[in-house]
């Protein structure tokens, strides 16, 4: 008699049963996206002894602007080898949203397992310039605001509102990089006190170097399985009991940057507050954003936040959100957590957010 946790979202229990990620590096110069993905896809299937023939759907997340050419996802399909042809789709978003699309399909009951992967390299171009092209093309992009400057505005807004200090940002970074020492895939890990970090120069005030994410090349993959199939593939599946995502206005002038109302709403819909949270993996590329997200999700001091080191340890675009779900799932598999929250973000200053509650039965 198999046991499933009660669901807040959906009606069919779907669990994360396998997760693999590439080592995150500043520059993977020898291999392209497909070559980086191949061992990761092999590992995510190999972990649970299945092949591509055992999944009914494949969904990926990536963006053409990192590669500088159209259809980056097309070649990436070769990492799976879609022959004979497969039911497959792609989102131009972090792969956390590809996971959402696969979860939706699994709800309908026609398929029992799905592969999700995301990939992106920051190294081929200048990320500050590239991400400026993600902004409103008429009113914002012509000013070429880089992501660090936008995040600095957000950090300053927190300080001005009396909600945080630069020391708080340093404390977040110190904890994250120390936690990252135990993460073999982390790119930036160190044991330094917050006081020490505060001696760094500003990159863009009030953000010092420690408050910024590294530039990462990486990729990751997850296998989802539904119902009994989840138990066939995994001793203790990390069941998605709640999942929701919400969008905010794009113009940062139209938003209260000290809050993340979309995370608040997604967290409510996903049922974060319905039980205690043991672990929360938050996709906060910039240190001040972790404080905003933790508050939006109502996470108390007892919650172990981003034990992987989070996006401050490695920030591979288009898979960093998916990796949060994978890391939170690992905490469930190991028994370190019974209930975990994973979060993914997209857009300038946390414009779009996904919240996922994972539970072991």
């Amino acid at each position: 008699m198999t046991v499933f946790p009660p669901l807040t979202s959906g009606r069919r229990p779907v669990g994360v049963v396998s997760f693999a990620q590439h080592d995150n590096v500043r520059r993977e110069g020898r291999r392209n996206d497909v070559e980086m993905l191949m061992p990761v896809v092999a590992e995510v299937f190999g972990n649970i002894g299945i092949t591509k023939d055992d999944v009914g759907f494949i969904c990926s997340g990536s963006t053409d602007y990192l590669v500088g050419g159209p259809f980056s996802f097309v070649a990436a399909l070769d990492a799976v080898g879609v022959w004979p042809p497969r039911a497959e789709s792609h989102v131009e978003m972090d792969a956390a949203w590809a996971l959402y699309e696969a979860w939706v399909l699994l709800q309908e009951g026609q398929i029992d397992a799905a592969l999700v992967y995301g990939f992106g390299r920051s190294s081929p171009g200048n990320l500050s310039e590239i991400l400026a092209l993600q902004l409103d093309p008429y009113y914002m992009a012509p000013l070429w605001p880089d992501p660090t400057s936008l995040a600095a505005l957000q950090g300053q807004a927190l300080i001005d509102a009396g909600l945080a200090t630069e020391a708080d940002f340093a404390a977040v970074a110190s904890r994250a990089r120390r936690a990252a020492l135990a993460n073999p895939h982390a790119q930036v890990a160190y044991d330094r006190s917050a006081e020490d970090l505060l001696r760094e120069q500003y990159e863009v005030a009030p953000l010092r170097r420690h408050a910024l994410p590294p530039l990462s090349d990486g990729c990751a993959a997850i296998v989802l399985a539904a119902g009994d199939r989840a138990y066939e593939l995994c001793e203790r599946p990390a069941f998605i009991t709640g999942i929701d995502h919400r969008l905010e206005a794009h113009a940062i002038g139209a938003r209260d940057l000290t809050r993340s109302p979309s995370t608040e709403l997604a967290g409510q819909k996903a049922g974060v507050a319905k039980g205690s949270v043991d672990v929360a993996e938050l996709h906060a590329p910039f240190a001040p954003q972790e404080l905003i997200l933790a508050r939006a999700l109502g996470l108390g001091a007892d919650v172990d936040i981003s034990p992987s080191g989070g996006a401050l340890a490695a920030n591979p675009l288009m898979s960093a959100g998916l990796i949060r779900i994978g890391e939170a799932s690992r905490a469930i598999w190991s028994g370190r957590a019974d209930r975990a929250v994973a979060h993914a973000t997209s857009g300038p200053c946390l414009q779009q957010n996904l919240v996922c509650v994972l539970e072991g039965a």
Binding site: T63, P70, V74, D78, A87, E88, P137, L247, E248, H250
Partner: protein
């Protein structure tokens, strides 16, 4: 466990070479509001928004859906952005429909667009990538050798493609939203147009358009409400399917791709189609270059392999010639091509026909229709069946 779902609202912009009067946001909003009006709804009634478009370099904005949050009434809502190459308009509609079929939402707005005049699609398709074979002359240059292989294999006469080009442009004259309205279109005019990629003349290729398409997909509850509010019937979704295959694989048949055949087989199984030529009353199929009509007639099982050109030559696919299985009554991709929206326009046109709202290009008493989109190197397929009957 799937819930029934249907198209309850439809909106599309007039396709043009350059919509200089609107921004991208203005373009998509125009189609979205039209779809909402059609369904008797406002943005406040919408649960989620699913956006699709082809490569972002076609406009020069990375992930533009983020900036379109306000224009599409998506603030505070879930939004998903789909990109599956040329099939994207179709797969976007499918992703939206699954949100309803899975029982998650009641009313989902789905929008697809391209504003090709903001950038240069030929350039964006041809950016050289390290260690990848160059596409060079855009899509036409890629597909022409495949078309020549089809001609060689099937023994089709050289004028089949030109006949498709004329037929679809004559259909377009009946569709006020079509980009091309070539009143004096004729075989001679097509033949006299410049040869672009042998055997494709200029007039056998799709235009480059600005345009947007939008649909509202509703649950049974939403359908009942919309029907009583507007008096317009829904187009019930009877089945939907997607399939992909690799670009570079020696075992592929690019003329008659297995992904297309598998996708159709899955779709027909879901929707109870035994003989597509008799079971469908019409089809909107992604034909960006004329010869893809006979090729897809075969790939989709409307006739035996090698016989597609015979249907075209006999006028079977022509609405105006009284063909038994009219294809692309809207004028098709050959008459309007806002790339990211082109697939959704195929799906949208089938819904328009089933709802009896297609105006001059309406197929009398259309009860079941096939919508089809493909993309990449004939490797990504998205299809649906819509019908008058509640499944």
């Amino acid at each position: 466990m799937s819930e029934r779902c249907a198209v309850i609202g439809i909106g599309q912009t007039v396709a043009k070479s350059k919509r200089e009067d609107v921004s991208i946001a203005g373009l998509v909003r125009e189609a979205a509001i039209m779809a909402l009006d059609d369904a008797g709804l406002t943005f406040a009634d919408i649960d989620a928004v699913v956006v699709g478009k082809a490569p972002d370099m076609f406009e020069g904005v990375m992930m533009p859906e983020l900036y379109l949050a306000g224009a599409l009434g998506a603030v505070g809502k879930p939004m998903i952005r789909v990109h599956t190459a040329g099939s994207v308009g179709g797969s976007t509609a499918i992703v939206a429909a699954h949100l309803v079929a899975a029982g998650i939402h009641d009313r989902v707005l789905t929008v697809a667009f391209e504003k090709q005049s903001d950038s240069d699609a030929m350039w964006a398709l041809s950016v050289p990538q390290p260690f990848s074979s160059p596409l060079l002359a855009g899509a036409g240059g890629y597909f022409a050798p495949i078309i020549r292989a089809y001609m060689h294999r099937s023994g089709a006469p050289r004028d089949t493609g030109m006949r498709v080009a004329v037929k679809d442009r004559r259909h377009a004259l009946l569709n006020p939203f079509a980009h091309l309205h070539l009143a004096d279109i004729s075989l001679k005019m097509v033949e006299d147009s410049i040869m672009l990629w042998d055997p494709l003349h200029y007039l056998e290729a799709c235009p480059s358009s600005d345009g947007a398409a939008a649909m509202i997909i509703g649950s049974e509850r939403a359908v009942a409400q919309a029907e009583s509010d507007t008096g317009r019937r829904p187009a019930w979704i009877h089945g939907m399917a997607m399939r992909s295959e690799p670009t570079m694989f020696a075992g592929r048949d690019q003329v008659n791709p297995q992904a297309g055949r598998d996708c159709a087989a899955d779709l027909y199984r879901q929707s109870g189609i035994n003989d597509p030529r008799t079971d469908f009353d019409m089809a909107e199929v992604y034909v960006p270059f004329s010869w893809y009509e006979p090729m897809w007639l075969e790939n989709l099982g409307f006739c035996a392999e090698g016989d597609g050109w015979k249907l075209t030559e006999a006028g079977a696919t022509s609405l105006l010639d009284g063909g038994d299985i009219p294809w692309n009554c809207s004028g098709g991709v050959l008459s309007s091509n806002p790339i990211g929206a082109s697939g959704m326009l195929r799906f949208l046109e089938t819904a328009l026909q089933i709802r009896g709202l297609a105006g001059e290009h309406q197929v009398p008493d259309a009860r079941r229709a096939l919508g089809h989109a493909y993309g990449g190197g004939s490797q990504f397929f998205a299809m649906w069946v819509v019908g008058v009957d509640r499944p």
